[in-house]
Amino acid sequence: MNIIYIFWLRQLKKYFRSKARLFGSLAQPAFFLVALGFGFGPIFSKAGGGDYIAFITPGIITQCILFTAVFSGIDLIWDREFGFLKETLAAPVSRLKIVIGRTLGSATIALIQGIIVLFLSLIIGFRPYDLGRLFFSFFIMFIIAFLFTAFGTTIASFLEDLHGFQFIMNFLLMPLFFLSGALFPLDGLPRVFKAIASFDPLTYGVDALRTCLINISHFGLFMDFFILSTLTLIFLCISSYSFSKMQI
């Protein structure tokens, strides 16, 4: 338990000490929320879609969590580059505990980021429909964060250096984000598009969060929850395995 805690704590300490990281990673979601929310809002409501800011808030929160979580994989590459990984790998502790501690730490950070975005949306006029569900949404956010942190760790354990991460960003994260229905409703999309979206894990994250925050659901909360938690378990196993195979 101590091992998991100390790695969790390490991630958090580093996060709160780096103000640039803290604010830098919030700039993009804030920008999306304001520009898209106010920009497309009038068109969306004219077309009968309702309040667009309310509609994209869960999407932008998910996006922020996705990016923070996946990019936490950079920490791992960094630790290898600067040698700290050697210190942990030479210690008599199980790799699984190290991975779980790190993953929990980074997922907590992503969750905090998501909650900050939620607060930003409250400032520009978003109102969640139910307070009890609002608290449940934190739980959903955490699962999304955990899933994609494990995903980021898996990628990082295969990458040689930081250059690869830019590639991942362009060819993986952007499609995941745009196909997830974060910015538009999935109903009424062409069938091919819909089919692709249903293979995007983020789709279920957005849908679950939307259900909690504004009570609009595509797949239903149970289905979302089932898929998210299954994928989280799978990726936790994969990331632990690939981490344990890392040589330095």
């Binding site: 600067f82 050697k86 030479a90 008599p92």
Partner: protein
């Protein structure tokens, strides 16, 4: 004597140890015996296979061939027992730059499951020993190379290891800091009886500090013994001269030959 004979006398034993990287042999069939409580130097030029050997001895790399015993434990089958019994200072820094000196020590103490009271006492004692107690709450990124190395020594000793591995511990440090570091290590060996295994390509360090030396070149151990033995054996005037006679080149040939360069490039690609 077979390798199954764990021998209370030996801290480190390696038999026919070999490591190949994509067909290139970095460590070639070496045998090592380091007695408990001694200071043993692994002397050789860059790219000779020193770090690769240390990585195998410390469970970080799987040997292609051969057997190892660290305090009688097998690094492949009994990883955690081996890991508990040694401390290590790596060739490259391995501290967390964004944490303070104290936090780095604390993290290590928790990793090695040292009870809190003992941990706090030991951290204070060691930080004072390496003269970093006053700087304990400073971030590592503000530390000089020598300070980092001293902290790594303190950290490596935190869990009371019986064997201390140091991979080029004085590389890139000024003479004064180098002396200081050897003084700590020498003291530890004398007072606590800790076995010290270090690699270096400074001949004078090996000669001054180590009781016994193994000279490694191109992955092979080509000579071993006390510094005096090596000099007498080769009929040389100094250890530096003995090295030249044994290897056919001086250790200062830092411009490695083609094979060494290829080997190093391979190793970098491996990472």
């Amino acid at each position: 004597m077979g390798i199954t004979d764990t021998g209370d006398r030996l801290a480190i034993r390696a038999k026919n140890l070999t490591k190949k990287f994509n067909g290139l042999t970095a460590v070639d069939n070496i045998n090592l015996e380091v007695v408990k409580g001694e200071i043993f130097a692994f002397l050789g030029p860059n790219g000779a296979g020193k770090s690769t050997t240390i990585r195998m001895l410390t469970t970080l790399l799987q040997p292609t061939n051969g057997e190892i015993r660290i305090n009688g434990f097998d690094p492949i089958k009994e990883q955690d027992k081996v890991r508990k019994s040694f401390g290590i200072v790596f060739q490259d820094p391995s501290l967390d730059d964004e944490l303070t000196a104290y936090e780095n020590m604390e993290l290590h103490g928790i990793l090695y499951n040292i009870p809190k009271e003992l941990r706090l006492r030991r951290i204070e004692e060691l930080l004072k020993m390496v003269e970093l107690w006053e700087r304990r709450n400073d971030f590592i990124k503000t530390f000089s190379g020598g300070m980092k190395r001293r902290l790594e020594i303190a950290r490596g000793l935190l869990h009371h290891p019986s064997i201390f591995f140091l991979d080029e511990p004085t590389l890139g440090l000024d003479p004064q800091t180098r002396n200081q570091i050897w003084n700590y290590i020498f003291d530890l060996n004398q007072k606590e009886g800790i076995t010290v295994f270090f690699t270096t390509h400074y001949i004078e360090e090996a000669e001054r500090i180590a009781e016994r030396i193994a000279i490694i070149d191109h992955g092979r151990i080509i000579a071993r013994g006390t510094p005096e033995d090596l000099i007498i054996k080769t009929n040389a005037s100094s250890l530096e001269n003995a090295f030249l006679i044994l290897t056919g080149h001086t250790i200062r040939e830092e411009i490695a030959n083609n094979i060494d360069q290829m080997r190093m490039r391979r190793r970098m690609m491996q990472r």
